[in-house]
């Protein structure tokens, strides 16, 4: 199966996602340049982390206009699994594929560290290999990861079970201390209503080998592989 990793000018976790899919999982991976109009046979699309177009205006605000985003949108509309990591999540928000917006971290500083997150839902193509309530250790690295949406939007997300990951402590409890950026409802990751598009701020691709301090991120990639290979994409269910 093929993971297509979109490369925007300013993407800087593209090689890491490619490495995780290809060298760690042993699947096929392709880079897709943002000016391209073909997803190169993608079974899964990854929007990687970085600073697309420099993010000088607002994170993801320019990237949504890249030509490839029309293809990503169409792929998502067909139920194809799309994963946005960090800047990729921000781009999905700007592109309207996921609801809400990102604010500056509440501490106003960039934060790079290991955090814990709890898997809230497992009926997505990126969490199906997890246990519900499982606590993962993944790194974050962002300055604008403070998720915001109006209360009615948050309520709808909760009701539709679209909150996929929440920041917690190691014991899986939501606490203020465990929320690294001030995100509303401690939201670390979301899916769309159809459940095939997932965005998260932490970096699963940085946690796929134990030598890097955690291999919990493999579960996210393995979920995608299982979902595609079993033909049981939850999105179509």
């Amino acid at each position: 199966m093929t993971f297509s990793v979109i490369v925007f000018p300013g993407s800087n976790c593209d090689e890491d996602a490619y490495h995780a899919a290809k060298d760690v999982l042993g699947e096929h991976a392709e880079y897709v340049w943002h000016k391209d109009t073909d997803l190169k046979g993608a079974d899964v699309v990854i929007l990687p982390g970085g600073f697309a177009h420099g993010d000088y205006l607002r994170t993801g605000a320019m990237a949504r206009f890249s030509p490839i985003m029309r293809e990503v949108q169409a792929f998502a509309d067909r139920g194809g699994p799309v994963l946005g990591i960090c800047n990729g999540f921000q781009i999905l928000l700007e592109a309207g594929l996921l609801p809400g917006a990102m604010l500056r971290n509440r501490g106003l500083k960039f934060r790079c560290e290991q955090v814990h997150l709890r898997v809230e839902q497992i009926d997505t193509p990126f969490t199906s290999a997890c246990r519900k309530g499982q606590v993962l250790q993944l790194p974050i690295a962002h300055g604008d990861g403070n998720y915001f949406a109006e209360p009615d939007v948050i309520a709808r997300l909760e009701q539709n079970r679209q909150v996929i990951f929440r920041y917690t402590n190691a014991a899986g409890e939501v606490t203020d201390d465990a929320n690294p950026n001030g995100s509303a409802a401690a939201i670390a990751g979301l899916c769309n209503e159809a459940r095939n598009v997932v965005g998260l701020m932490p970096h699963p691709e940085r946690a796929c080998e134990s030598i890097l301090g955690s291999a919990d991120g493999l579960l996210i990639f393995e979920s995608a592989v299982q979902s595609v290979k079993s033909g049981a994409l939850v999105a179509r269910a």
């Binding site: 300013g10 800087n12 890491d16 600073f51 790079c112 690295a141 080998e209």
Partner: protein, 750 residues
């Protein structure tokens, strides 16, 4: 037409002007004067330092590129080279902390990818005034945010470094940044221009009026007018640099390049003349073709601008369109601004009219060279006096208890965790970082191989203030030891020499002594200097910083999975001390904290012993016989052992240290035993089953090794001379260490 005021504004001396006239055979015009002034500035010409730098060891079988290119390179096996360098951005960072530091990072990254290498790691070595002094927090916050803003955006992890606080840096903070990249050894690219008629291309950001005379500013002292020099600081654009990085690496793969150089200090002037000089060729450009972001710029301004993120390329004839196409893909426009000529001159035209015409060699190899007068500074006579035995009890009664001293040392900003800073740096991007910041040397694996590279930057201004030669040797030794403590064999070094005004004989003496010390230590430890940078004139209102050579050492692990860190791993492990504690308190953190004194002699250093210890630690790690290794430095063995316990969930340790002075058989006082900073010491933790083998190997290597205790429990307990002098919960010690720097930022700024 060139009057004394004009010369002064250009930082040129009268005799230097006369030399210009001789080089040209006529009076220079203003554009030419500007070009000479930046190329002959201390920053670009190394005119005061070159005679000393020539004495440094620069060769070894592993060295692929020594000093003189954009960066140095060492062979790391498997056909790969590690390309690395350290550079200062001190002066700009004082004037505008965020941009000064950011553009420092941008500059060193360009030096690395210019050589054809993919940059994979950054380090930084920072020095500021006291953290509680007014202004320090502003500069610290700006510098750290600037490093983060640039490095994070471009996607190169900052994997380690050091931050030191000392009043002498209040008016002259030091911002030294290090970058390391990887390239196939056969594909290293150089900054040369050759082949008459080959096109000279300009690519990257447009040229503006920013940074004009930045190199000259970096070659002068500060006074209360310095804030007005802000326009001489450049503004960084990491996104542009990311595009340049990717596009240049793609162009380099094409084999269409003759040479490439970034436009750093002295911008277009330096890149054209240096590339021509290295290639034995001339370069002719027309400034009207240079992309400009402001209107009405004069040739003088265009040649001297230090706008960031610009590169100069010489392209093989017939391959121009190929190169242009690659830059177009990245939305960069490579512009042909001139060509290589045969006459060895830098010829600058403006719409066809010649506005400067100078032999390249006059700007580079024939720049002035000074053998400046030197004399031992007066202050040393008194400052070196220290009789530890005669020290009165600590002035503060609270600091007569070793537990209290340890807590205060752990909270001292120079020793306390720098998590506040490094968690602002993306230290994991590229998924290679296998020893995180704060654990000693930074370590990155090399994907596609079994190998990993360890790197550390170290310096100790206090030691160098008290004895620049020994202090510089200690800096080399500490950097190499830190690399060895990760399990890596030190391969090569780079140096960043931060000093005051070289026109003062006392400063020049410090400089010469330090270079001698670096040379001696690098020779003995097998780490040749492959490049670096000199930053002089670090003075404000006549007060110089401590002489501060900062050394970066790079080492190789044959097996990435055998990397170790300084932290204890398991309860019940045996703790071993390699090396001898001699209770040396000269220049120590203890003496500063308890007595508010910087005096005495820095610790003695036996280079043969140092080398033996480093080799032993690498051998033990490679054989998987040790679980951790930590260099014993600031704050002595008590601080080292405490830090070994941190980040492990409060694991404790109980150790007992000998307090008999090795050479004299005299008893040491507790403070000297606990907090003395004797060099060449390493604390190991060893699984009980391996201890016999470890001691045998140490004996075979001629390294003193003592079992001093065992990990376990949740208390930090240290006995000296059979009495328990330190006894506290590990959690309490860790809290003092981890909360310190954050607490300064929680306070209201006065």
């Amino acid at each position: 037409m060139i009057d004394p005021q004009v010369l002064e504004r250009h930082g040129l001396k009268r005799d230097e002007y006369d030399r210009i006239v001789t080089c040209l055979g006529r009076e220079p015009n203003l554009t030419e004067l500007g070009i000479f002034s930046v190329m002959w500035s201390e920053h670009c010409s190394y005119k005061s330092s070159r005679v000393h730098l020539k004495t440094l060891p620069t060769e070894g079988p592993q060295v692929l590129q020594g000093p003189g290119e954009n960066a140095g390179a060492v062979d790391i096996g498997g056909g790969l080279a590690a390309i690395f360098k350290i550079e200062s951005h001190n002066h700009p960072s004082f004037i505008e902390p965020y941009q000064g530091a950011a553009t420092g990072v941008g500059g060193i990254i360009r030096d690395i990818f210019t050589m054809g290498a993919r940059p994979i790691a950054l380090l930084n070595s920072l020095r500021f005034g006291s953290l509680d002094a007014p202004g320090t927090r502003r500069v610290l916050e700006g510098v750290v945010a600037g490093i983060a803003g640039y490095g994070n955006s471009i996607g190169i992890p900052t994997v380690g470094g050091e931050i030191v606080f000392e009043p002498c840096y209040a008016g002259n903070p030091l911002v030294n940044v290090f970058c390391l990249g990887i390239a196939p050894a056969a594909d290293i690219i150089k900054g040369v221009a050759s082949g008459v008629g080959n096109a000279v291309y300009y690519v990257g950001a447009k040229t503006g009026r920013d940074g004009i005379h930045g190199a000259t500013m970096a070659s002068a002292e500060f006074d209360d007018q310095s804030a007005e020099k802000r326009p001489a600081v450049q503004v960084g654009d990491p996104f542009m640099e990311k595009l340049l990085l990717e596009a240049c690496l793609e162009v380099m793969k094409s084999d269409a390049l003759i040479g490439i150089q970034d436009m750093g200090a002295a911008g277009l002037t330096c890149s054209t003349s240096e590339m021509g000089s290295r290639g034995g060729a001339g370069v002719e450009i027309d400034v009207a073709l240079v992309p400009q972001r402001e209107t009405g710029m004069t040739p003088y301004e265009i040649m001297l601008s230090e706008s960031q993120e610009r590169m100069l390329l010489v392209v093989k004839r017939g391959r121009e369109s190929e190169v242009e196409r690659i830059f177009d893909k990245w939305d960069l426009h490579a512009v042909r601004i001139g060509e290589v000529t045969a006459d060895g001159r830098l010829r600058v035209k403006d719409r066809g009219t010649t506005v400067a015409d100078i032999p390249n060699r006059a700007l580079t190899d024939e720049a002035p060279l000074y053998r400046r007068p030197m004399s031992e500074p007066e202050y040393l006579k008194d400052a070196r006096k220290l009789d530890v035995g005669a020290l009165a009890p600590a002035p503060s009664p609270r600091l007569r208890d070793a537990n209290a001293v340890l807590v205060r040392l752990l909270a001292s900003p120079t020793i306390a965790t720098k998590r506040w800073a490094y968690r602002q740096y993306d230290h994991m991007v590229r998924t290679n970082t296998i020893n995180l910041p704060g654990l000693g040397a930074g370590v990155v694996r090399v994907k596609g191989t079994e190998r990993a590279l360890a790197m550390s930057v170290d310096g100790n201004g206090r030691y160098c203030y008290l004895d620049p030669r020994r202090g510089a040797m200690l800096a080399v030794a500490e950097a190499a030891r830190n690399v060895a403590c990760a399990g890596a064999r030190p391969l090569g070094a780079t140096n960043c020499l931060n000093f005051g005004n070289p026109e003062r004989p006392a400063i020049m003496w410090q400089f010469a002594q330090a270079v001698e010390g670096i040379g001696a230590a690098c020779r003995a430890l097998g780490v040749p200097i492959t490049g670096g940078n000199v930053s002089l004139y670090n003075e404000t209102d006549g007060n110089a910083i401590y002489p501060t050579p900062v050394i970066g050492v790079v080492g190789l692990l044959e097996h990435a999975d055998r990397v170790i860190s300084g932290r204890f791993k398991e309860s019940g492990d045996v703790v071993v001390l390699l090396g001898d504690g001699r209770g040396e308190l000269g220049g120590s953190e203890y003496l500063k904290l308890v007595y508010d004194q910087v005096r005495g002699l820095p610790p003695a250093l036996d280079l043969d012993r140092e080398r033996a210890i480093e080799r032993l630690v690498v051998e033990l790690a490679e054989a998987r016989l040790i679980r951790s290794a930590d260099d014993c430095s600031d704050g002595g063995i008590a601080v080292t052992v405490a830090e070994c316990c941190f980040d492990s969930g409060g694991m404790g340790v109980e150790i007992s240290i000998d307090t008999t002075e090795i050479s004299s058989d005299q008893p040491l006082n507790d403070a000297a035993a606990l907090f003395g900073e004797s060099a060449s010491r390493v604390v190991l933790s060893v699984a009980a089953g391996n201890i016999t083998r470890v001691l045998e190997l140490a004996a075979a290597a001629g390294v003193p090794a003592r079992v001093i205790g065992q990990t376990g429990g949740n208390r930090l307990r240290i006995a000296t001379g059979g009495r328990m002098t330190i006894d506290m919960a590990t959690d309490d010690a860790e809290r003092a260490w981890s909360a310190s720097i954050d607490s300064y930022f929680a306070k209201k700024i006065a």
